[in-house]
C-alpha cells in the first residue's frame, strides 16, 4: 500500500519538478527577447508565445505535485486543531465528492478540447510565427490525469489514517524557507534541552 502511495507521490513530484524547469527556460527566453528588442531592436516573433506556454505548462503540471506536498492553500483556522482522524474524515469525503469530479472533467473535456486543436493543427494567434498550441492544450487532460492519480493517493492516505490514526509518511522534499528554518530551530532547541538535561543529571 505504502509503496503504491509513494510511487504516485514520486510520479507527481517528478512531473511537477520536470515542468518546474520551465521557469529557467522562461527566464532566459524573456531575457533573450528583452535583449533582442531593446538592445538590437529586432524583437523575436516566438518569445512571447513561448513564455506564455512555459508559464502555462509550469502551473498546470505542478498542480498534482503541489497536491502531493499538501501545498494547496487551506483556510485552516479550525482544521489545524482537529485530531488526525478528524482531518482524514473531512478530507476523505471532500476529496471524493470535490476533487475527483474536477479532475475527471479536466481529463474528459480537456481531451475533446485538445483533440479539436489537433484536428485543425491550431496555431497561436498572438504571434505571426504561427506557433502550434495543440501540444500546449494536450497538457490539460494530462494534468487532470495526474491530479486524479494523486487524488486517489490522498484518498488512500485518509483511509489509512482513519484506520491507524496517523497519516502515512510522505516523501522528503524541499521546504519553504520559513518551515525549514522553524524546523531547524526546533531541533536545536530540543538538542540543547537534552544536553542541559544530561548535565543536570
Amino acid at each position: 500500500m505504502n509503496r503504491v502511495l509513494l510511487f504516485i507521490d514520486s510520479l507527481s513530484m517528478w512531473m511537477g519538478k520536470a515542468f518546474g524547469w520551465c521557469i529557467v527556460v522562461l527566464t532566459f527566453a524573456t531575457c533573450y527577447e528583452v535583449f533582442m528588442r531593446y538592445v538590437l531592436g529586432a524583437p523575436t516573433t516566438w518569445a512571447f508565445v513561448m513564455s506564455i506556454q512555459m508559464y502555462g505548462a509550469l502551473l498546470i503540471m505542478a498542480g498534482a505535485y503541489t497536491l502531493s506536498r499538501n501545498g494547496h492553500v487551506r483556510g485552516d483556522m479550525l482544521y489545524r486543531y482537529l485530531p488526525e482522524r478528524g482531518k482524514a474524515g473531512i478530507d476523505l469525503v471532500l476529496y471524493i465528492i470535490f476533487l475527483l469530479p474536477g479532475a475527471l472533467a479536466l481529463i474528459w473535456y480537456g481531451t475533446q478540447f485538445a483533440a479539436d486543436s489537433w484536428r485543425f493543427k491550431e496555431v497561436s494567434w498572438s504571434s505571426p510565427a504561427r506557433i502550434q498550441i495543440y501540444f500546449f492544450k494536450t497538457l490539460l487532460p494530462l494534468a487532470g490525469a495526474l491530479v486524479l492519480l494523486q487524488g486517489f493517493a490522498e484518498i488512500c492516505r485518509c483511509i489509512v489514517c482513519l484506520r491507524t490514526g496517523r497519516f502515512p509518511p510522505r516523501l522528503h522534499d524541499v521546504e519553504e524557507t520559513e518551515s525549514m528554518l522553524i524546523h531547524q530551530h526546533e531541533n536545536e532547541l530540543e538538542r540543547a534541552q537534552e544536553q542541559s538535561g544530561e548535565k543536570a543529571r
Partner: protein
C-alpha cells in the same frame, strides 16, 4: 428557489467548506462545476447527462489562466524571490546596514526594518523574510538588551511590506483580477509603500529616542574603519538595490512589461547569487521546485475562482449582492469603509491570495457606481492586507517569528509588539483616503 438564491447558497456553502479546511482551489472548482451544472442544465439534461456547457466553460477557463499574459510575471517574480532568499544575501545586508546605522537611536531596529524593506521588496514572500530576520536580527537585538516587544514588532511589520511595495506579486494578482494595468498599479503603490515604510521608520526612531531603555546602544565592539563599512555597503546594499531599482524603473518608465522586468530580475538575482558564490546546484533546484509549487498554488486558485465567479454571476448572485448594497444607499465613503472592514475581517482566517482572488472580485463591479478608482481601491486593499499578517489571532508573521524565536519570547509579546504597527497601517489608510493623490498622482504623471 430562485436562481439568485441558489447563488447565495453556493457562496454560503463555499464559505462553510473553506472554514472546514479543504483546499480552496478544489472547493472552488467543485462548487463551480456542481452549481454550474444546475445553472446551465438543459430541459432534456437527464437524457444526456454528460452534455452540459459548464464542462467546456471550465476547460476554457483553465486554459485562459494558462495563457494569461499578466500572470506570466508571477512565477518569474517568485523565482527571483526564491533565488535571493536562498543566496545568503540577507545576512550581508543586515550586517552592513547595522554598521551604517549604528549612530541612530534604536540602530539595530532601524537596520532590521531597512533590511526587511529592501529584502521584502525583492522577494514579496512574507514568511521567509520574517523567519530569516528572526534568526538574524532578533538575537542581535535581544543580546543588546532591546525590549522584546519593540524588537519583535519591527521584524513582523517590516516583513510584510513586501506585499505592498512594488514589484510585488500581490499587485500582479490584483491586476489580473481587476483587469487593470499592473504597471499603473506599481506606480500607484510606490508612494503609499514608501509612506508606510517611512512611518514605521519614524516610529522606531521616535520610540528609541523618547525611551532609550527600549533600545540600549549595543556595546562598542571594534567598529571597522569607514572604508570597510563603505565597502560592505557597496557589496551588499548596492547590488540588490540596483537590481530592484532596475526592475522597477524599467517597468515604471514604460520600457518593459512586468513579466519582462521580472525575467531580467530573475536573471540578475541568479547573477548576484553566482557573484556571492552562494549559488549551488542544490539551491538552484530548490528555488525551481519551490517556484513550481507556489505558482501552482496561486494559479490553481485562479482556475477555480474564474469558474466559480462566472457561475455565481450567471445565476444572478452578483446582481443580488449589488442590488442589496446599492439599495442600502450608502455614500461612497461608507461603502469604502464597509468594504475595507470586510476585507480586514477576512484577513483573520484567510491569506491575501484567497482574499484577492475570491472576495475582492465581488466588490470590483460596484466601484464604478460609487465613482471609486479601481487602482485606488487596490492600493487601499494592499495596505489593508498588511494587517491580515499582523492582526491576532491568525497573524501569520507573528507565528513565523515565534517559530524561530528563543523560547522566552511569547506569542503575546509579539502580538503586543505588533499592535502599534496596526495603528500605523490604519493611519496610513486614512491618509491615503484623505489624500488619494498619494496613489493616483504617480500613474498620471508616468502614463498620463
Amino acid at each position: 428557489m430562485t436562481d439568485p438564491q441558489v447563488a447565495l447558497l453556493m457562496l454560503g456553502l463555499f464559505i462553510f467548506v473553506v472554514l472546514i479546511g479543504f483546499p480552496i482551489a478544489f472547493t472552488l472548482i467543485a462548487m463551480g462545476l456542481g452549481f454550474g451544472y444546475y445553472a446551465y442544465a438543459m430541459p432534456n439534461q437527464l437524457e444526456n447527462i454528460f452534455d452540459n456547457r459548464i464542462f467546456n466553460l471550465f476547460v476554457q477557463n483553465t486554459f485562459s489562466v494558462m495563457s494569461n499574459e499578466i500572470l506570466v510575471a508571477v512565477p518569474l517574480f517568485l523565482f527571483m524571490g526564491y533565488v535571493v532568499e536562498r543566496s545568503n544575501i540577507v545576512s550581508r545586508l543586515f550586517h552592513s546596514l547595522q554598521l551604517a546605522a549604528r549612530r541612530l537611536p534604536g540602530s539595530l531596529a532601524v537596520a532590521a526594518l531597512a533590511t526587511c524593506t529592501i529584502f521584502a521588496t525583492a522577494t514579496g514572500i512574507v514568511g521567509a523574510v520574517v523567519t530569516l530576520m528572526g534568526l538574524l536580527a532578533l538575537p542581535a537585538m535581544l543580546n543588546a538588551k532591546y525590549d522584546v516587544r519593540y524588537a519583535t514588532g519591527v521584524i513582523c511589520a517590516g516583513g510584510c511590506l513586501g506585499i505592498l511595495i512594488p514589484p510585488s506579486i500581490m499587485l500582479i494578482v490584483y491586476a489580473a483580477v481587476a483587469e487593470q494595468s499592473p504597471v499603473r498599479l506599481y506606480a500607484a503603490a510606490l508612494l503609499p509603500g514608501a509612506m508606510l515604510a517611512g512611518l514605521y521608520m519614524i516610529y522606531v526612531v521616535a520610540r528609541a529616542t523618547f525611551n532609550p531603555a527600549l533600545a540600549p546602544k549595543p556595546p562598542e565592539e571594534e567598529i571597522p574603519p569607514l572604508p570597510q563599512i563603505l565597502w560592505q555597503l557597496l557589496t551588499s546594499f548596492v547590488p540588490l538595490s540596483v537590481l530592484i531599482l532596475a526592475v522597477l524603473g524599467s517597468i515604471l518608465l514604460g520600457i518593459a512589461t512586468p513579466a519582462e522586468a521580472a525575467g531580467v530580475g530573475s536573471f540578475g538575482a541568479l547573477l548576484l547569487a553566482v557573484l556571492y558564490r552562494s549559488l549551488s546546484w542544490d539551491k538552484l533546484r530548490e528555488a525551481v521546485f519551490l517556484t513550481a509549487r507556489t505558482t501552482a498554488m496561486v494559479c490553481w486558485l485562479f482556475i477555480g475562482s474564474w469558474t466559480f465567479a462566472s457561475v455565481f454571476s450567471y445565476l444572478g448572485g452578483q446582481t443580488l449582492i449589488e442590488n442589496w448594497v446599492l439599495g442600502a444607499e450608502l455614500d461612497p465613503i461608507t461603502f469604502l469603509i464597509v468594504a475595507q472592514l470586510i476585507i480586514f475581517l477576512l484577513g483573520w482566517p484567510l491569506e491575501w491570495s484567497e482574499i484577492i482572488i475570491i472576495f475582492v472580485p465581488i466588490f470590483l463591479p460596484m466601484l464604478d457606481t460609487f465613482g471609486i478608482d479601481p487602482i485606488f481601491f487596490g492600493i487601499l486593499v494592499a495596505l489593508n492586507l498588511q494587517t491580515s499578517f499582523l492582526s491576532p489571532p491568525m497573524a501569520m508573521s507573528a507565528y513565523y517569528l515565534k517559530g524561530v524565536a528563543p523560547p522566552f519570547v511569547t506569542l503575546m509579546d509579539i502580538f503586543r509588539g505588533v499592535m502599534p504597527y496596526l495603528v500605523i497601517v490604519l493611519f496610513a489608510m486614512v491618509m491615503l483616503y484623505v489624500f488619494p493623490g498619494l496613489a493616483l498622482f504617480l500613474p498620471e504623471w508616468f502614463f498620463g
